[in-house]
């Protein structure tokens, strides 16, 4: 990337202290999010994608902490900020939406109050009338019909899709530069998911914000992301422009994921399932963390962790056997 990216994560390591010692849920992750673009982060449960986003937001709960690495937002290291400085960043520079809109909204407050709260946190001198006006504008922006009425309703009066719109309205109330969306459509029905994805894309075009989209759904990634990072067991195993990941997948894990999903545009007798399961962070295998499940694993894979290397400019993979057709022929 030639221009300075909005966000650059460098060698981030997030650890949790447990009775059995420290475990690293995110272990040496480096990423870039260019301005106005969408980075998709793909992986299965336990790959560290949510811990990564909480690390960027500095929302890790005890006993989690950032052990090393930097999180540079426009050159400023968020990992080194004080709690008070970080509070000024959250909501104003970076905002986040979560999977379950019902549990992320406070059920005893009207949605308007909750949106206004987000604005007031950064602009304490805003008047009540101004907050109301801006809150209604925020609801309008996420295409909620009759926003004046919805402003005074409670979360339970809204449908799932509507609640996620409210979450997005709240997140965008202070026009952040970066929106982190952690599985934003996983709890939604497919027709509602399509509405929300459409909305996110429109809002990005309007505001020029960057998006980190965390998902397990390769369909959502293909639809939304410009760049993709595939994570496995706390590490990025492949990083590529979205088109390249699907047209030229390199890492065996990325291949396995592609083979695991049933497709509407192809009929297959059997799905290609990845054998075994994701290892827990306290029992990570030595060497390449995917090797116990990898059909191409060889001695060297068991001994030493592969480094992320560029195979094509902009396309990096952490596998010594990629591309597999070449290493198999050798």
């Amino acid at each position: 990337m030639s221009a300075e990216p909005l966000l650059r994560v460098e060698n981030l390591r997030t650890v949790f202290r447990t009775s059995g010692g420290e475990v690293a849920a995110v272990d040496g992750v480096s990423l870039e999010v260019p301005r106005g673009r969408t980075l998709g982060i793909v992986g299965e449960s336990g790959c560290g994608k949510s811990v990564l986003s909480l690390s960027i937001m500095r929302l890790l709960a005890h006993p989690g902490r950032i052990a090393s690495g930097r999180v540079l937002l426009e050159g400023r290291d968020l990992a080194a900020l004080s709690a008070a400085e970080m509070r000024a960043v959250r909501g104003r520079d970076i905002a986040m939406i979560f999977q379950e809109p019902m549990t992320s909204l406070n059920p005893v407050h009207r949605v308007g109050f909750q949106i206004a709260e987000a604005i007031r946190a950064h602009e304490p001198r805003a008047s009540a009338a101004e907050l109301r006006e801006r809150g209604i504008a925020a609801l309008k922006r996420v295409r909620i019909p009759s926003p004046e009425r919805r402003f005074d309703e409670y979360p339970h009066q809204l449908s799932g899709g509507m609640r996620q719109r409210v979450m997005i309205a709240m997140a965008l109330a202070c026009s952040p530069k970066l929106l982190i969306a952690d599985e934003p459509t996983t709890a939604l029905d497919v027709t509602v998911q399509a509405q929300i994805l459409d909305l996110l894309r429109e809002l990005q075009a309007e505001t020029g914000m960057s998006i980190i989209l965390i998902t397990h759904d390769l369909g959502v990634v293909a639809e939304m992301a410009d760049e993709v990072a595939v994570m496995y067991a706390g590490r990025v195993v492949e990083r590529a422009p979205a088109a390249a990941l699907f047209e030229d997948p390199q890492h065996p894990y990325a291949l396995g994921l592609l083979g695991s999903i049933p497709r509407l545009d192809e009929e297959r007798e059997r799905l290609l399932a990845i054998a075994g399961a994701v290892p827990p962070p306290f029992a990570l295998p030595k060497g390449c963390r995917f090797h116990p499940r990898c059909p191409f694993a060889e001695e060297a894979c068991r001994a030493e962790a592969p480094l992320l290397r560029e195979v094509v400019p902009g396309h990096a993979v952490a596998c010594r056997r990629a591309p597999v057709e070449q290493s198999l022929a050798a």
Binding site: A194, A222, F246, D248, S260, R263, L272, I274, A275
Partner: protein, 349 residues
Amino acid sequence: MSAPLLEVAGLAKHYPVKRGLILAKQIGTVRAVDGVSFTLQRGETLALVGESGCGKSTTARLVLRLIEPSAGEVRFEGRDITSLDRADLKAFRRRAQIVFQDPYASLNPRYTVGRTIAEPMEVHGVRDEASRRARVEELLRLVGLAPYHAERFPHEFSGGQRQRIGIARALAVEPDLVVCDEPVSALDVSIQAQVVNLLADLQKRLGLAYLFIAHDLAVVKHVADRIAVMYLGKIVEIAEKRALFANPCHPYTRALLAAIPHPDPRRRGQVTPLGGDVPSPLNPPPGCRFHTRCPFARDICREKEPALANGVACHLAEELPPAGLDFSGGLAPNAAKRLALYAKAAENA
């Protein structure tokens, strides 16, 4: 065609909605399932698909009579199970089992896996203790686990393994029909593929019939022989899988298919969202229930409820333009080539 294993006709489940504590007054009816009919052959998979609240899970429970229907019939080998007495119902349940969505909530955490799997055999008085134990081992192997797992507790297993345990339990009494209620929706994609493959293998081996409840149309396309699409308590379209994807007739089926993002960036932007929300089943709209969101709706749709004819419940089925959905494409050549190598290497491993 031989007589179907399962025949469902006019099945309905209505829940009264009451207001007031002591002198409760009924103020409405939720029509969770409202006149559903279908058949299922031996060894066949029928998928019920739809979005939340369409009544697919309620239908699954009605078929096993886990809840009592408000109306309609469920015939299993020609016999209506809605009027069976306790003993006959128990005999029916030996033939029809269920696999649940949530592998965390559907296993008793205090039971060993062996006890969980043996329990249906005890309930139905199948085999003696020693041969039950042998059967548990056999079942564990059948679902890809090991005999020593029988001594362990559910918390020692991953989600995918738990789902295998749930499947082993369902198969313990050798049923003919297994109702699979979103069996893979809670699983990660790579694990989902393992369980989908397992279900397919078991069907082939044991001749099982599946009533497969799901919301993921790609999974359904992979597993089902026939598909019934539900909306607000009704089947709006039912067809052979290939016919449904080649020519989806009902506007809701089309909307559902058009909303799915393809794992292919070349097709970006083809997703067409359906406007609006599902109406409340408490006051379903008159006429066709989909008319409030249907781009083709006319006066007749608002007034008269369409009947299911030739597999479609739509007044305009004959005159709608072609769906124009493209399901060709598939994996990119490089991806396909490497996946083939992966599959070959996995086989040798």
